[in-house]
Symmetry: C2
Subunit: 395 residues, 2 copies
């Protein structure tokens, strides 16, 4: 193992907290520590900070502060959207059909499956094309009079494909069906104007954009009725009970604002790093392909399928060289399985098992790309020689 500095290229998994965010949270540990639901001055101080954070987030999303619900993470936000709509429909005796896609994060897909398996809802999982793209016409075709919710992710976490959210939103609106988008992967880089996106529900997670772990947002358009997925006190206008995590929420609001301040320049910089890596690897490695859409993709996402190797072995090999990446696979050592996303995109087995994702962030520089270009090609070669997948004798 070389004594190279460690290189983090897994910003889709999580990001370091921006030092300015750490600083913004600092007063809320033991100076302004009141419970924001308390009536006294300690509580009112906390409530003011909370409402200021809410207003900041609302400004970034171009919505009203009362439409912002703070949660504990993106997963909880997605759960609240799906369960909240489903149970409101059940309560009102309305329909029981949900439309989503085959490539959602488990926070959406497993929730839809639980609603189906345990609570009698019906779920349509729309297919995607070879680039991981949903066809809005498929959404239209799947609509039934019992449809109560459409949920399509903004950008895919594995392959970075950006979905035609505004267009799907228009279809949803034509049919007056609530439209939810899991925007967790989009939070740091894409436009979050909920009016332009035509969404009714939108989920974000702070730790994906240099905020703290343990805090998320669900945008809920005025007029959308949710039955709370968690029950307890009347916090967050009855949408989310539990003592409010003021420090984390101030951190989320600060991080969102910072991320969006120089978004265009930073996105351009990330795209250059991304494209340098894509071009370099496609040149240097035989039988490699870019996964996800060639242009409609997250600016910081470079994901690949590499034929005949196990993505997890690649990941561990890179890790030994101090480079942190991610595999799209289910990560069961010794039993490589293509990820469900790559399967949904139709990749053959011997390609799909070699899923590998690099996601760039603020601290990355060109030298990080060069390190991958130096390390990965010989690693692939070595692994293909040792234990070729899809060839005789391979595991």
């Amino acid at each position: 193992m070389k004594t190279r500095r460690r290189i983090y290229l897994d910003h889709a998994a999580t990001t370091p907290v921006d030092p300015r965010v750490v600083e913004a949270m600092a007063p809320y540990w033991n100076e302004i520590y009141g419970n924001s639901a308390s009536l006294h001055e300690f509580g009112r101080q906390a409530a003011r900070a909370l409402e200021e954070a809410r207003a900041q987030v609302a400004a970034e999303l171009n919505c009203h502060p009362t439409e912002i619900v703070f949660t504990s993470c993106g997963t909880e936000s997605d759960n609240l959207a799906l369960r909240g709509i489903a149970w409101a429909a059940r309560k009102a005796g309305r329909g029981h059909h949900i439309i989503t896609t085959a490539i959602e994060h488990h926070a959406v897909s497993h929730t839809a499956e639980q609603l189906r398996d345990l609570f009698g809802f019906e779920v349509t999982f729309l297919p995607v094309d070879r680039y991981g793209m949903v066809d809005p016409d498929d959404v239209r075709a799947a609509l039934r009079k019992e449809t109560i919710l459409i949920s399509v992710m903004y950008a895919n976490n594995e392959v970075g494909t950006i979905q035609p959210i505004a267009e799907i939103g228009r279809i949803a609106r034509e049919h007056q069906i609530p439209f939810h988008t899991d925007a967790v992967q989009a939070g740091g880089t894409l436009d979050l104007d909920v009016q332009a996106l035509n969404v009714d529900l939108l989920a974000l997670s702070a730790h994906k954009f240099y905020g703290p772990k343990g805090v998320g947002v669900l945008y809920v358009r005025r007029g959308i009725k949710l039955v709370p997925a968690l029950t307890g006190g009347g916090h967050e206008r009855g949408h989310r009970p539990g003592t409010v995590n003021v420090a984390g929420i101030v951190g989320l609001a600060t991080a969102l604002r910072l991320t969006r301040t120089n978004r265009e320049e930073e996105n351009a910089r990330l795209r250059r790093l991304r494209d340098r890596l894509i071009e370099g690897l496609l040149e240097r490695i035989p039988d490699i392909q870019l996964t996800g859409h060639p242009t409609q993709r997250l600016p910081h996402n470079a994901s690949f399928a590499i034929r005949g190797v196990d993505g997890e072995a690649l990941l561990l090999g890179l890790d030994l060289e101090g480079i942190a990446a991610s595999t799209g696979s289910a990560c069961t050592t010794g039993d490589p399985e293509p990820s469900f996303v790559l399967r949904a995109m139709g990749l053959p087995y011997e390609w799909g098992v070699g899923g590998l994702r690099f996601t760039f962030g603020h601290q990355n520089r060109e030298e990080d790309v060069d390190a991958v270009l130096e390390v990965l090609p010989p690693l692939v070669e070595r692994l293909r020689e040792m234990s070729p997948i899809g060839a005789p004798g391979g595991s």
Copy 2:
């Protein structure tokens, strides 16, 4: 308003984070920031911190680390316990009857009500005596062959009464029914040995014992089957999805350890402050009574009912003098309502509206008690003159 330093006597609502806890969390913002589910070294570092915190918490609770599930708050822990058991029962085609009490926190009572109203479960709410105490014989009498869960809080948040948990646990065990306790209010001061308590599920929240807001624990005894209340990734052994809040969890574990290090001495100190306040107020104010059990009560809780005044008006009057307390009431200005806890304890209206709670913490000293003894009696007198409740002309 006098220029007295502000006095915080609302530690049951929330506590300031111990500076040692802030310090323990510090490395996890942007040094050890990996996603604990990631396979690379950044992730493994985070996972090690997470598992160390889990082992610490397990040691304090006298259980196995795999029985500790980290959540986003006490409310979520209670939700996971109730929903998790209820849905596991539904899935297995078992019973649909839940036993709980009339004085639970809304995290339990509203969850039980939603399970009843929306999902067809049946709920028995056990009564309490005038001290807010549950009778174990009532638990036994409420048992049915369809009973799937007993949930009784460890100590009441308003009046501080400590329930006979170990005894109720024995009854539950005799009948092989899972037993959950909401220990959120007990976390800082009472014994948390889950073996001695005979509990199968126990909920805690870090911010009640000088840890950060936004992180909780659910102890789940091995063998207890839960269907997750939130669905997504496979974190926390499938019990709680979502990227793990490592900083917060390290904070929770540190806070729990610190709180329990000198628990006996600190409890004795808190009891002295509490009793000084109780004796002082009972002496100085006519028509005042202690609420909750006289001896089986949390060491830091002094709660009262004051006849003929609105608890919220008292709270605001104290706030003007820089003293933070809490009312047990529903806090609807101008329309005083006794809290459901005081109602369940059988307090008449003109007593119940005057609920007032003081809860002590690490930073409180005798002078804080003396400040309340100075300020509160004339405040009560003034309010009784201005707008007597329960008297002709009162609101």
